[in-house]
Amino acid sequence: MTMTDDPLLSIRNLQTYFHTDDGVVKAVDGVSFDVDRGETVCIVGESGSGKSVTSESITQLIPIPPGEIVGGEVYFDGEDVTELSTGELQELRGGRIGHVFQNPQGALNPVYTVGYQIREAIDAHHDLSKAEARQRAIRLLEDVGIPEAATRIDDYPHEFSGGMKQRVVIAIALACEPDLLIADEPTTALDVTIEAQILDLLRDLQDEYDMSIVFITHDLGVVAEIADRVVVMYAGKVMETGSVEDIFENSAHPYTEALLECLPGQSNLEPIPGTLPSATDPPDGCRFHDRCEYATEECRVGDQPALSEIEDGHGVSCVHWQRGSDGLPEPTDVRGPVRSTGGER
């Protein structure tokens, strides 16, 4: 494969809907972003923002039905993945794109040894002898930092701790030396000290395997730790995208600012009032408008504003994106008693 300047992964206007009894849930509703070779892109958002669905739509891991990719393109290395046949998709999954999931307790099948589960990933893409595959599996376990890999390879998942299981899951994802690793909240279920170990490991492996990482998380602390670029999602839409410095030091979207302000551990905590809008019947205009302190009439009509490029690589989806220059609208008070709309269950 030749290295080009094209992004490795380019998602264009992706729309993934779920058909449920209560109506169509627009989990991902027109999301676009790029991932360059060798870089780490974090998708950050609260639960219900569509960040996991976005990541699982890349190789169509979402359950279809009820899920459906209704529109948009996903270019991986220049090729539109949404057009691929099932066989080609399977070639891609685990081959050039590896996946790590949130819950290491559930991500490994309890009835097989970890060695079997790693070999399975190797065998799906390579024609190796049993001994060769085993040796490769041991090397992978060593790479992800499991001590005495040769002994542990024949153990069952329940004999590993949570952190160790997550290492095994990473080893599976790396089995065929992918170009892209998609990690969906890989550290959320882990303790902080273990989380730190896994983040270190991912950073080391990224250099070693020379891959891009799409990292999904709700934790801005983790984002600051690992991201090169950041995509901030809210209610199925991209609110802001930019380099990690853009987001943390020069954030332009009110939602990003609000997220940063409600991180516990800092002196002045500012909660975001209100609740997530309904996923089946999202509001007109900017999805964030009814919780936004800068919202004006323009924010409540039409569609989500297009991503406007503030500076190179820093886009923001806000009516008032130029507010830095032409002055802010007055913050309106949206705080009050929390309405128990009971939208989510």
Binding site: G94, G98, L108, P110, V111, E120, A121
Partner: protein
């Protein structure tokens, strides 16, 4: 693991002992047991020699004057395969069983194999294609299957295929050789009746258990590895679902098949264990009734043991320390 299996075997013996003791108590307290003493009188009245009748009574399982004597006789008799005398057949009970089991086996076995294969396959398909038309059809079939009273279903099949269409015989005939096409033909309806309920039941279990895993994280992991859908289904949905399914095979399906077989033999007049038992009940031939009831119990107990051992092989997580 060896210690675990040894423990299970010990438990099996204990369970057998408890079961037999309960059986004895049920028997000993029943009005039928009291009638046992009248047995000799009855036989004499029917023209049998008094000594011969008394000798025949000695052959009965669990005779004796005190409860303890009856109990020990009962247990020793069972353990030594001296299961008493069938007055109906004028044969030792063991011989009656030996002559009739093959008639039951010849259709129960194919029905079992058929139901396990079809039941699991349909259930697995249904689970992996949840909310599709095929799934709804399979579920409807399953509900129908478990709700059909088997005796009525058998009669309805006879009405249609034997009485109205005349394609298949109404009753089972012992005149044909066991391994003949004729025999196979007269077993078609029994096998259909027996396996319908079993397929439906297994399908429901297989579907429910597989559904537990269809959305499991490790299934997603398996898919993300690039495995094909068939590989994912077999290795990562069916294989873990096997673990709980093993337990229903013995517990529920065995009981279903035996109970179904009983009724089917009565309806089709197949001279297997079920029909023997039925006639023994009608004729009040207690030793034979006891034997034909205990045989399924023994099979179930052994089945349970086999099931536990399978479990240790299928599920690496099992805690050998307890239970």
């Amino acid at each position: 693991m060896k210690a675990y299996i040894a423990k299970r075997i010990a438990w099996t013996f204990f369970a057998t002992w408890v079961t037999l003791t309960i059986t004895f108590l049920l028997l000993d307290f029943s009005p039928i047991s009291a009638a046992g003493a009248e047995f000799v009188d009855q036989q004499v009245q029917q023209g049998m020699d008094a000594d011969e009748a008394r000798e025949l009574y000695q052959e009965q399982l669990g005779h004796g004057d005190t409860a303890w004597e009856r109990y020990t006789n009962f247990m020793v008799g069972l353990a030594t395969f001296d299961w008493g005398w069938s007055s109906m057949y004028s044969q030792p009970v063991v011989d009656v069983i030996a002559n009739s089991w093959i008639y039951s086996f010849q259709y129960v076995f194919p029905a079992t194999v058929l139901s396990v294969i079809l039941g699991f396959a349909i259930g697995l398909y249904s689970a992996t294609h949840q909310y599709t038309k095929e799934d709804y059809a399979a579920t409807l079939f399953a509900f129908t299957g478990i709700s059909l009273p088997n005796f009525w279903f058998a009669i309805m099949l006879i009405l249609i295929f034997a009485t109205m269409l005349g394609w298949l015989p109404t009753y089972y005939s012992t005149d044909v050789a066991l391994l003949s096409l004729e025999n196979a033909k007269q077993l078609i309806l029994p096998v259909i009746v027996l396996s319908t309920a079993a397929i439906a039941s297994e399908m429901r279990y297989a579907r429910a258990e597989s559904l537990e895993y269809v959305h499991a994280e490790f299934v997603k992991t398996a898919r993300a590895k690039g495995l094909s859908e068939n590989q994912v289904t077999i290795r990562h949905i069916f294989r873990p679902a096997m673990v709980p399914l093993i337990t229903i095979l013995v517990g529920d399906i065995l009981g279903l098949l035996f109970a179904g077989g009983y009724v089917i033999e009565v309806i089709f007049q197949i001279p297997g264990l079920g029909l023997v038992s039925y006639e023994a009940i009608i004729q009040q031939d207690t030793p034979l009734v006891l034997a034909t009831v205990l045989i399924p119990v023994f099979i179930a107990i052994i089945g349970n043991l086999v099931q536990d051992i399978c479990y240790t092989i299928l599920d690496p997580r099992i805690d050998f320390g307890d239970r």
